[in-house]
């Protein structure tokens, strides 16, 4: 990938903002990360660590780069042809933009759920079995087991267990989104990235997803982008506030919302802009 080649490794000053947290183990370490679309800079020197087995929320007004940032974490951002990057993102201690790092391997370990539910026009079963199949698991019995486990993990099993062979497009929006989560769980990732997963859903479906996120964080590290501050406050342990491509503030969620350090953070969470 050309973008990987363009990623230079600059010496990193020891100024990474550490979350004030009980967790010492971090799964992602982002250092001096900047990103351009063509000549437009979308991210400026992003720098922080994402802890394991936590829910980390990324908040900020639209166009602040939060979606770009989360897509950089599994290199989906590279699907945009003109993208250029500088700095590094380490996942479990390895630079994901290093030429040696296989993007498929990264994405196998880091699952993603998108803003709009995007199931394949296949059966519910095939949707969940897609990941295991592309990774070479073919045995019907094993696949059956994975499908059931993943659908249970996404709290969807009881609703669909009698119609696994029906087309996924027949499900409601909220169910589709949980199906996408199940599809993601099927390859047992370590991290799940969620890009505004509830913005296209009704309140009841949203509540179900939020509940699910709480349950999932026992086994997975979750990064969730949301423009809904209440949501971030409800479900996350850490919150990063992005503005115009910069991280303004990053700390434990309750601290950030109750006692923001930066004036701009305060303005945003009190609804003065955005």
């Amino acid at each position: 990938m050309n973008s990987a080649a363009e990623t230079k490794h600059v010496p990193v000053p020891n100024t990474t903002i550490k979350p004030k947290s009980r967790d010492s183990k971090s799964i992602y370490s982002i250092q001096n990360f900047s990103l351009w679309y063509g000549s437009d800079q979308a991210l400026y020197d992003v720098q922080f660590d994402i802890p394991a087995n936590n829910v980390t929320a990324i908040i900020g007004p639209s166009g602040c780069g939060k979606s770009t940032f989360i897509k950089a974490l599994n290199r989906m951002v590279e699907l945009v042809p003109s993208v250029k990057m500088l700095g590094s993102i380490n996942y479990n201690g390895k630079d994901i933009f290093s030429p040696k790092y296989k993007v498929e391997e990264l994405r196998t370990n880091v699952g993603m759920v998108f803003q709009n539910p995007n199931p394949f026009p296949k059966s519910i079963y095939e949707n969940v079995a897609y990941g295991p199949k592309i990774h070479g698991i073919k045995k019907k019995k094993v696949l059956d087991e994975i499908v059931e486990k993943s659908l249970k993990g996404a709290a969807l099993w009881d609703e669909v267990k009698d119609r696994l062979q029906e087309n996924a497009f027949g499900l409601s929006g909220g169910q589709q989104q949980r199906l996408c989560i199940a599809r993601c769980l099927a390859i047992e990732p370590d991290v799940i990235l969620m890009d505004e997963p509830t913005s296209a859903l009704d309140p009841i479906s949203t509540a179900k997803i939020e509940e699910l996120v709480q349950k999932l964080k026992e086994d997975y590290s979750i990064v969730i982008v949301t423009h809904n501050m209440q949501q971030a406050a409800r479900i996350s342990d850490k919150t990063a506030f992005f503005l115009n491509g910069e991280v303004i503030e990053y700390s434990n969620t309750d601290e950030l919302f109750s006692n923001p350090e930066d004036k701009r953070t305060e303005d945003y969470i009190t609804g003065r802009f955005g």
């Binding site: 498929e104 391997e105 998108f114 394949f120 990941g131 996408c180 993601c184 390859i187």
Partner: protein
């Protein structure tokens, strides 16, 4: 004084409205003209040809006597031709579409291929016949065989299949790619397991319409020398052959009125086959449209 005289406008209004009405009728008649021609054409063909349509017509070979003439060799020949043209043109066409939509970078070479394809679509079919005659029949020494005819037809309909397959692939939303890539799928896995399955209905619809064009096409096969008097069935792709439109052409060219009736019967068969293929295409299109 007002610059606009309401009275004058009022007077002109009715005239303009009448003119509008008249032209509306005229435009409608023009549209109806095409429909009327189609009805007359179908009525003529069916009223003249239906009398000759019986089991014998389908199972007899061509004959010097109109009452004994049948279309068996032509039907079988058309099927053989499709057996060559369908796989070759679909594989090449879909392959080209995948290359252009998924792999090609936006450079001059890609643009050149795209322009080349749209120009090929405008080349008269008889010129493809000259190509087939020179390259397949003579240069590659395939002779006047089903293979030579089938390959010529494949090249003729290739641009149609490429363009319709490109449209089918382009209609797949980007989020389907994202979903697959985010699972760690490679590009080829994504194309094979997500893009192609989703594009298949569109590809098939376009493919069937292109093949129905090939079934009705006469000129290129005349060029490569498909025969009209064949009293045997092809044994393999290297056999000589005839096809429905060539058989119809042959009968049309006879001076005897009786053979014109036989030609009508042949046209009925051809049109029924085309209708059948088009219905399948429409069914596929309606069944799978609006999925995303």
């Amino acid at each position: 004084m007002s610059l606009v005289d309401k009275q004058v406008i009022q007077n002109k209004m009715s005239k303009r409205s009448v003119k509008n009405q008249i032209m509306n009728k005229l435009f409608f008649s023009a549209t109806a003209f095409g429909i009327v021609v189609l009805i007359v054409l179908l009525y003529r063909v069916f009223s003249e040809g239906i009398g000759h349509l019986d089991w014998g017509f389908l199972t007899n070979f061509a004959s010097r006597f109109p009452e004994e003439a049948g279309i068996k060799a032509a039907i079988v020949g058309s099927l053989w031709l499709m057996a060559v043209t369908a796989p070759v043109s679909l594989l090449l066409g879909v392959g080209t579409a995948i290359y252009l939509e998924e792999y090609a970078s936006r450079n001059k070479f890609t643009r050149f291929i795209q322009i080349n394809i749209s120009n090929l679509a405008g080349v008269p079919s008889i010129v493809f016949g000259l190509l087939g005659l020179t390259v397949f029949v003579r240069l590659m020494e395939m002779g006047r065989s089903i293979m030579a005819g089938g390959l010529t037809m494949s090249l003729l309909i290739l641009p149609i299949i490429v363009v319709s397959s490109q449209e089918a692939i382009r209609a797949i939303p980007k989020n389907q790619y994202e979903a697959s890539f985010a699972m760690g799928a490679t590009k080829w896995q994504t194309i094979r397991r997500v893009v192609l399955p989703a594009a298949i209905p569109g590809i098939l619809t376009g493919g069937i319409l292109a093949l129905s064009r090939a079934i009705g096409e006469t000129a290129p096969l005349l060029m490569i020398g498909a025969l009209s008097f064949i009293a045997y069935l092809p044994e393999n792709v290297w056999s000589g052959f005839t096809v429905l439109p060539i058989q119809i052409f042959n009968w049309t060219g006879r001076p005897q009125e009786e053979f014109h009736l036989v030609a009508s019967t042949g046209i009925i068969i051809l049109l029924v086959i085309l209708l059948f293929m088009n219905s399948i295409a429409v069914i596929i299109r309606n069944k799978f449209s609006k999925r995303f």
